[in-house]
């Protein structure tokens, strides 16, 4: 049965209205490849590339087809057969896979970013001639990266014996764009009696890399990250980035080649917690005990579900519980709150026009709420939401939920 219900849920199909955009078409073509009736042509690469991996189709599939795994596997096979291509090869293997090199290049970019005009909200508008190359607006990089201002160990602020020991995973966007988010999370945790350790040799989570099909580098990063936390004796590993938490958890799903790897990745998964679930499910802070920061008093807020929280990790109730209970703000649910913002990592670089159209629908949802603040918990979504709020000349501000609470 090929019911095609995915068409209703696919943000890309909703814009393009073509069978090649939707899960059913992609699945059929991948099956043709498996049957030896179709090659990985450039056209095929384009079709398989045009997926946000938002998982809305998979979540709503009556036959429970795991189309995300089909797409990732097809991309992996393409990389195996055709290679990564010069740009991705350089970006993934020479830069992102090497923490020090990534920092170095990011710093280099940071030095030159003054050439690009900045608007508010840390979004750099690329000069038109660069945009002509199909590149999206980029966030401006922080003056000081998180790695340069962070300590290896943070003790609980009350000076007492820690009630648990947690490893902090920063992730690239927090490191380079939103370092204050990392500091905010550490401050919040240590205030609640948690000891936080930050291993220096942690790496990129690997999302952009293995979701693009470079599972080899993805595996390397997985192993490096697992090693970084191995001897730290932490109860949990916590991150403020929804994409990072889901990516670390899902090493076991997308990457294992051997039984040994599978077991190791599964062990690692058990320790990973997103900040939203950690504060509610593990620290068990009652939602009404969260305190609003003064500057947000009297505001109306709405919640945007990052794909990597709502569908990859089934995290949707925890952040809503906090926002609904926070005294001093009004919470309004957004229509289609779980609809992808259109970012999709490198998707937005290759298909920026589509990203803007998909984000446009998100913007309609935001406008309908009348909210002043859009709250979310993924720096990736934040970058795209801020970009599109500005492009649409909307008054809303976008914040991570950690920024709202004391």
């Amino acid at each position: 049965m090929k019911c095609g219900f995915c068409s209703f849920f696919c943000p890309v199909y909703q814009e393009e209205k073509m069978e090649t955009s939707v899960a059913r078409g992609k699945n059929y073509l991948v099956k043709q490849v498996l049957a030896g009736k179709q090659e990985f042509t450039p056209e095929m690469a384009d079709i398989i590339g045009k997926c946000l991996l938002c998982k809305r189709c998979a979540a709503n599939c009556p036959a429970k087809t795991q189309i995300d795994r089909v797409v990732v596997a097809a991309r992996a096979q393409m990389v195996k057969e055709k290679g990564l291509g010069a740009i991705k090869n350089f970006a993934f293997r020479k830069v992102m896979a090497n923490r020090k090199a990534f920092g170095k290049y990011a710093r280099l970019m940071q030095k030159f970013q003054w050439m690009m005009p900045t608007t508010e909200g840390k979004i750099k508008h690329l000069p038109d001639f660069v945009k002509g190359l199909g590149k999206r607006n980029f966030p401006s990089l922080s003056k000081t990266f998180l790695r340069d201002q962070i300590k290896p160990v943070y003790k609980p602020q009350n000076g007492e014996k820690p009630k648990m020991r947690v490893g902090f995973f920063m992730g690239c966007a927090t490191d380079f764009v939103y370092p204050e988010l990392g500091l905010k999370l550490i401050d919040f945790l240590t205030r609640h009696g948690v000891e936080v350790v930050v291993p220096e040799d942690q790496n990129c989570c690997g999302a952009a890399i293995y979701f693009s099909g470079d599972v080899e580098t993805g595996r390397m990063l997985a192993d490096l990250n697992i090693k970084a936390y191995k001897d730290l004796n932490v109860d949990y590993i916590v991150t403020a980035c929804g994409t990072c938490s889901s990516t670390l958890k899902d090493y076991q799903k997308y990457l294992p080649d051997t039984e040994e790897q599978k077991q190791r990745y599964e062990e690692f998964e058990k320790k990973i917690k997103d900040s939203t679930e950690f504060v509610i499910d593990i620290l068990k802070i009652p939602p009404q005990d969260f305190k609003l920061r003064k500057e947000f008093e009297g505001k109306t807020v709405t919640w945007h579900d990052p794909c990597h929280l709502v569908r990859y990790q089934n995290i949707k109730d925890q952040p809503r519980a906090i926002l609904k209970a926070l005294k001093g703000i009004k919470y309004v649910e957004m229509p289609n709150a779980d609809m992808c913002c259109g970012m999709g990592g490198s998707f937005s670089v290759y298909h920026y026009d589509l990203t803007k159209k998909i984000a446009g629908k998100k913007m309609d949802g935001i406008k309908a709420t009348g909210a002043d603040i859009v709250v979310t918990a993924c720096p990736g979504c934040m970058i795209n939401l801020i970009d599109n709020v500005l492009l649409n000349k909307m008054p809303q501000k976008v914040h991570h939920f950690l920024e709202l609470v004391e």
Binding site: C3, G4, F5, S7, K17, M18, T20, L29, P62, K64
Partner: protein, 460 residues
């Protein structure tokens, strides 16, 4: 393969972005909702106006290129598969809701509008389009009209043909005609409108439709009624109706389906029940309340073991989710499923269900029943595996006998809502009078003398 010059002609009509010829794209337009029949087109075009459709048709007719209109591709009888290649005319971008007229309770839509999008839009106005094919998430209005689709709500509201007041059609010649109108009553000459409804895209391309709407009911209530015997459940259906309650849905799931649902998503259906009926009533709150109680009384009086009125929407939604999941469960449990679409007069449901059980025994195959019991459209499904040749043969025989018994012995029809397409051609020939088929062929030849519209379907 089409000539390069022709491809550029089509590009001139609809624009380069709206013409697909890459082999990968053609593969993606080679199937419908089943992939039981696969055939690639030579080209896919996406018109967005009546004029574009007309110009495409003129060109196709002059060159005698087959044209297969296609909406969401959710149909399940092969209707939108381009069996003779040629052009797939994809209507998905021709998708505006042009007008919602609250005074006259009508809507004017383009063919590519997806039913669920229409439903959501109409709900804002307090209106709805009653026919509810269960492919509503992907099915487009053009396809729904061409297949004369229906769904569970058929028992109270009927099917698509009762809700189409008029259509704009582009004929194979490229000529644009208007059939029907915007009024409920219309007896101006032959009722040609209804020849196009359910013509499965073999006569022309629907480019606009005038739909009849209903006000959205204020309240709904759901019941789950449990039976020890599937035939008694079948009887329950007409007992409720003859006692004066017309529910908007009466759906049946048998023991096999109940157990698969409970495995997938336990909601507390009794696993030892032989069958369950799900009823839904809709309307004014006070009436709905009374009707639900009445159904509980009547079903118990006529042999139901238990009748549970869902106390809230959450529980009601659970039952309907389970009913929909049942469909997925059937398809997930076998390599191949022959999901039949036979429909019998309601009074014959008990006898027909008994017959299905006998056939399952006779051919030693699993035949499950989950369907729209309220209108006799039972969807018996035969589970098999083409790799197991011997089993497959038995399954095929069982299918033949189900269809023949339904259509001949029990006075029903071989398709209630899926259409003939490619799937049911052989049965169509068997159970339809030759004079009737000849009449259909004659109509087809009159409207489409070059046989370019969706060739290879229905009687061929």
């Amino acid at each position: 393969m089409l000539k390069e010059s022709l491809i550029s002609e089509f590009q001139k009509i609809v624009g380069k972005d709206n013409v697909l010829t890459a082999p990968e794209a053609l593969k993606a337009y080679s199937y419908d909702g089943t992939t039981s029949w696969v055939h690639e087109p030579d080209i896919v075009v996406f018109p967005t106006t009546t004029d574009e459709v007309s110009r495409i048709m003129k060109l196709a007719n002059a060159e005698k290129i087959p044209v297969t209109p296609r909406g969401g591709g959710t149909n399940v009888s092969g209707g939108s598969v381009p069996w003779h290649g040629g052009i797939v005319m994809a209507m998905t971008k021709f998708n505006q809701i042009l007008k919602i007229d609250k005074e006259n309770l009508t809507a004017t839509v383009e063919p590519g509008v997806v039913l669920q999008d229409l439903t959501l839009r109409l709900a804002k106005e307090g209106l709805f389009f009653p026919p509810d094919p269960q492919s509503f998430l992907g099915a487009t209005m053009g396809g729904i009209i061409s297949e004369n689709a229906g769904g569970p709500a058929g028992v109270k509201y009927g099917v698509t043909k009762q809700y189409v007041l008029g259509v704009e059609v582009v004929l194979p010649s490229g000529e644009v005609i208007h059939l029907g109108g915007r009024t409920l009553k219309n007896v101006v000459g032959y009722d040609l409108l209804h020849i196009f409804i359910s013509s499965e895209g073999t006569l022309g391309v629907i480019t606009k439709a005038e739909l009849k709407l209903n006000p959205l009911p204020q309240a709904r209530k759901t019941l789950c009624v449990v039976y020890d015997d599937v035939s008694i459940a079948g009887e329950g259906v007409f007992r409720v109706l003859e006692n004066g309650v017309i529910p908007c849905k009466i759906e049946m799931v048998d023991n096999w389906v109940i157990n698969r649902i409970e495995e997938m998503m336990p909601i507390g259906l009794p696993k030892d029940a032989d069958a369950c009926l799900f009823f839904e009533v809709d309307g004014i709150p006070e009436v709905v309340e009374k009707e639900a109680q009445k159904i509980a009384e009547i079903t118990k009086q006529y042999g139901a073991k238990e009748a549970r009125i869902a106390p809230n929407m959450d529980e009601a939604n659970k039952y309907w989710l389970a009913r929909r999941a049942g469909f997925a469960a059937v398809f997930g449990k076998a390599k191949q499923v022959f999901a039949e679409d036979v429909t019998v007069p309601r009074g014959n449901i008990p006898k027909f269900v008994k017959k299905i059980r006998e056939l399952a025994k006779k051919y030693d195959v699993e035949i499950v029943v989950l369907g729209h019991a309220g209108d006799g459209n039972l969807h018996p499904a035969v589970l098999t595996d083409p790799a197991n040749k011997e089993h497959y043969e038995r399954a095929l025989k069982a299918v033949d006998e189900i269809i023949e018994s339904a259509a001949v012995e029990f006075g029903g029809v071989l398709s209630g809502e899926h259409g003939i397409g490619l799937e049911k051609q052989k049965f169509m020939r068997k159970v339809t009078e030759p004079a009737v088929i000849n009449m259909m062929k004659g109509i087809k030849a009159l409207i489409d003398p070059n046989n370019i519209m969706n060739p290879g379907k229905i009687w061929e």
